[in-house]
Amino acid sequence: MTTGRLHIITPGLLTTVQDLGRRGHQALGVPVAGPMDRSSHRLANLLVANDPSAATLEVTLTGPDIMVEADTTMAVTGAEFDLTCDGRPVPVGAAFTVARGQRVRFGRRHRGARAYLAVGGGVLTPPVLGSRATHLLSGMGGLDGRALAAGDCLPVVAAGATDPPRYSIAQVLPVGGPARLRVMAGPQADWFDPDALRALAATGFRVSLRSNRMGYRLEGAPLDRVRDDELVSEPVGMGAIQVPAAGEPILLMADCQTAGGYPKIGYVISADLPLAGQLAPGDTIEFVWCTRQEAVAALIAREREFLRSSATGGVS
């Protein structure tokens, strides 16, 4: 299979190569990285019949203008953007054919914060420690460990246009009003005042401007502790709600460090992390306490949607 290239004419605000994440090295301080909205990333690959391990481009808030050297199949999922191919509108959430030399442009964004662009065969930047995911702080993975820039060329397979089956899997995007994120009690939940635990669920939080792929700083009611000790550094993961001394929580996201020393009041459940990944500064969050059983049931329900669609070969 020959390789072709995907040209970045303009990159958009923050576009990075991502795959499912760099797993297996957290003991050495290597963050997982990967998609902020894992569900939309998976769907994009499914729509172009890619291997689930294929890398996509994660697009943030404003999108790129790209061109391919060979006919290819693409799909864009996640945030709803106006998309055109040589000026002709193409839909989000379905595969479309792009001929050699044609320009795909992201226009206005309507809902959600991040979109995923999959190309047939995947983006083929060299894997680092087994993954193509970009981790910006350490400069690992993707294209030279950084966000894409004008003039970049990404290696892709020159597979030609294909006609992959269609899928209909509902995407989870913010619908206006607070995003509902279910939370399990964290390992230091008992460090917090009962009023703080109530406030986490009863009051809203706003994603502040001081937010990025590592985590979102949240503005809202301060969460008071009953215990004042320092916590020695311990392992953490995406979804942790950690609370520094000042009281305003930080929701850890895809590029978070592997360990930290702030107490964790809760962890957002895996099934709701894709929705969290669609939030931008200014968006609001409503946390809802839930149990492990509910968390796993939500994950199973979502997985069934993917499996059902794959098994039937898709529903248009």
Binding site: G29, V128, S138, M140, V232
Partner: protein, 218 residues
């Protein structure tokens, strides 16, 4: 020992004892044991000082079996009564001068001469307790209490790669340039992390380290 859920895809195994070499030896031994068992769906086992993070796929991992494996592992390791004798990694350091901009103030806060700080830092064999912050950043301890100066209240925006720092009883080397709040007393040219190398990190939890002064910084 407690096993605490961190959401639906991670467990935190917690031992009592804070920053203690023997507790950490048990953590590292448990991590090695779980890693060797290669339990279905478990993709990362990451030591902390006195904790262990176990990351898994809840749709593939039998949580009950995982918890049993952790409990059985912890029981069998309770008899460990001393850290293993691992080889010592020597890290050459250029202390002071431009390489160690905080050496003079650490000396002043410790009530001794800069040379004493260097001697006290370089005379110990440290244990690597855990890695975190950035790839290859090893949290090492414990620092001589007489020079165990707290970190800066306001971190530097830029700490040069290779900088050797102190934060209370912890010491460490910054593998890459990042912001950082530790007291910088020297710098090493030895690479701490290279993803193209096998293994990618110079240090791993449980390793022993000695810092070796090079000719004085300029």
């Amino acid at each position: 020992m407690r096993i605490l859920p961190c959401g639906d895809s991670m467990l935190l195994v917690e031992f009592e004892g804070g920053i203690d070499p023997l507790v950490n030896e048990r953590v590292v031994a448990l991590a090695d044991r779980l890693h060797a068992q290669a339990l279905r769906g478990v993709h990362d086992v990451a030591p902390g000082y006195c904790t262990l993070g176990v990351h898994f796929d809840p749709l593939r991992t039998d949580l009950g079996a995982l918890e049993q494996a952790i409990e059985a592992g912890a029981r069998s390791l309770a008899s460990i009564d001393r850290p293993a004798d691992r080889p010592v990694v020597n890290i050459p350091v250029c202390y002071g001068g431009a390489a160690g901009p905080d050496l003079a103030s650490v000396a002043e806060m410790s009530g001794c001469a800069p040379l004493d700080v260097v001697r006290r830092h370089a005379s110990r064999v440290y244990r690597v307790y855990m890695l975190g912050f950035v790839p290859g950043f090893a949290y090492m301890g414990r620092v001589d209490p007489s020079i165990a100066v707290p970190r800066h209240r306001v971190p530097r925006v830029r700490v040069p790669a290779g900088s050797v720092g102190i934060a209370g009883e912890q010491t460490g080397v910054y593998p890459i340039e990042t912001p950082g709040g530790w007291q910088l007393i020297g710098r090493t040219r030895m690479p701490m992390f290279d993803p193209r190398h096998t293994p990618p990190s110079l240090l791993k939890p449980g390793d022993r380290v000695r810092f070796v002064p090079e000719s004085s910084g300029g």
